[in-house]
């Protein structure tokens, strides 16, 4: 259960800066793998046609395909296999077209490389981009959207203490990750769950009532949304400060420096549960 929940927490809580990077990473190998085999064709065509534009190139590519079709037909001359071959070649055509499109993209990105027929071995845009990001990552990883800034909140560890109590083992750890006072988190937990509890000798939290890790995870998520994340930059690198002058709590963001006042935790109405007093 806890194992399944873990990545979700991380994804939701952490900033999704890495998404950007992932996209780029996944894109570059694709782009590199697909155009390369077609480069030779392209160069041949360039040698042949030189300054003709994209569309004519596509057409020529198609013509090549057609030639191959006819060749294939000549070779085989079997009526039953014709259809199969034709479909295969259609696929091939589609692939060629795709390759053509990709090549066009390449050219749009690096027009100079395509324009100059003599320099066929010029560096491709993807390679340059790759190189740039590698260097950027080496020298200052923060700018490259490094995943180091991502906060990893450990999933709550819950055990049942007897029949009616829940032991929340890693409050201290979570509080340390969130840079919050554990007391504050505990207060919030009690207010939200409508229970009470205490801290045992090993600084674990014992709550009255039965709670599952996913319940506590939900509450923690709301706590983070309300008291941890910076509204301005969505960073979780924040600090909770209490201004003694006006007795208000403020979130001070360490990343962007903005402050935001937050309401204090209110317990609200507590219904009387259990045995009635006389």
């Amino acid at each position: 259960m806890a194992d399944v929940d873990e990545p979700k927490v991380v994804e939701d809580l952490g900033l999704d800066l890495s998404l950007k990077k992932k996209k780029k990473k996944s894109k570059t190998p694709d782009a590199e793998s697909t155009p390369e085999p077609t480069v030779d064709d392209d160069e041949d065509m360039l040698a042949g046609l030189k300054k003709k534009k994209k569309k004519s190139k596509d057409a020529s590519a198609k013509a090549d395909g057609v030639d191959e079709v006819t060749d294939a037909f000549d070779d085989l001359k079997l009526k039953k296999k014709k259809k199969k071959k034709a479909t295969v070649i259609d696929d091939f055509d589609a692939q060629l077209e795709k390759a053509g499109v990709l090549d066009d993209d390449n050219k749009e990105n690096s027009p100079e490389a395509a324009e100059i027929p003599g320099e066929t071995t010029s560096i491709k845009y993807e390679d340059l981009l790759h190189r740039f990001f590698n260097i950027l990552r080496e020298n200052n990883p923060e700018l490259a959207g490094g995943s180091g800034s991502k906060l990893k909140v450990p999933p709550p560890v819950c055990q049942r203490e007897g029949n009616k109590k829940t032991l929340f083992a890693n409050v201290q750890e979570i509080a340390a990750v969130l840079q919050r006072n554990p007391e504050h988190i505990i207060q919030y937990l009690f207010a939200e769950l409508g229970t009470s509890g205490s801290i045992d000798g090993q600084k674990r939290l014992i709550m009255r009532g039965r709670f599952q890790p996913k319940h506590i995870e939900n509450v923690l998520r709301r706590y983070i949304a309300e008291y941890v994340t910076c509204e301005t930059c969505k960073s979780m690198n924040t600090e909770l400060k209490r201004e003694s002058a006006n007795r208000l709590h403020f979130i001070v963001c360490k990343a962007c420096g903005s402050t935001k006042s937050v309401s204090s935790i209110k317990t609200g109405f507590q219904a009387h549960v259990g045995r009635r007093k006389k």
């Binding site: 769950l193 409508g194 229970t195 599952q212 509450v219 609200g268 109405f269 219904a271 549960v273």
Partner: protein, 109 residues
């Protein structure tokens, strides 16, 4: 003076009308655990113009649960319902009483 077009620009300090600064009285819907796997839903902070007694009656019938109104010194009247009725209460308040969703807070796990 007013012939100069630039001076007739809008007043940046005028009220835009859609200010969220008005004091929002949140409606809190909470859940409490009772003995065993039984729970209790409390609805706190309903506006005074509604007749709580009638609302409770309808809620009880709709959700097929028991419920009652508890008077609290600080928090006013609170509706108590048996069982976890949080989402249903939320749905009822938004659809039947036309209360805004942003003014309703659901607490608990």
């Amino acid at each position: 003076m007013s012939s100069i077009e630039n001076l007739k620009s809008f007043d940046p300090f005028a009220d835009t009308g859609d200010d969220d600064t008005q004091p929002t009285n949140y409606i809190h819907i909470r859940i409490q655990q009772r003995n065993g796997r039984k729970t209790l839903t409390t609805v706190q902070g309903l506006p005074d113009e509604y007749d709580l007694k009638k609302i409770t009656k309808v809620l009880k019938k709709d959700f097929a649960c028991n419920g009652n109104i508890v008077k609290d010194e600080e928090l006013g009247q609170v509706i108590q319902l048996q069982g976890d009725q949080r989402l249903k209460v939320m749905e009822f308040l938004t659809s039947q009483l036309a209360l805004q969703k942003k003014n309703i807070k659901i607490h608990g796990f």
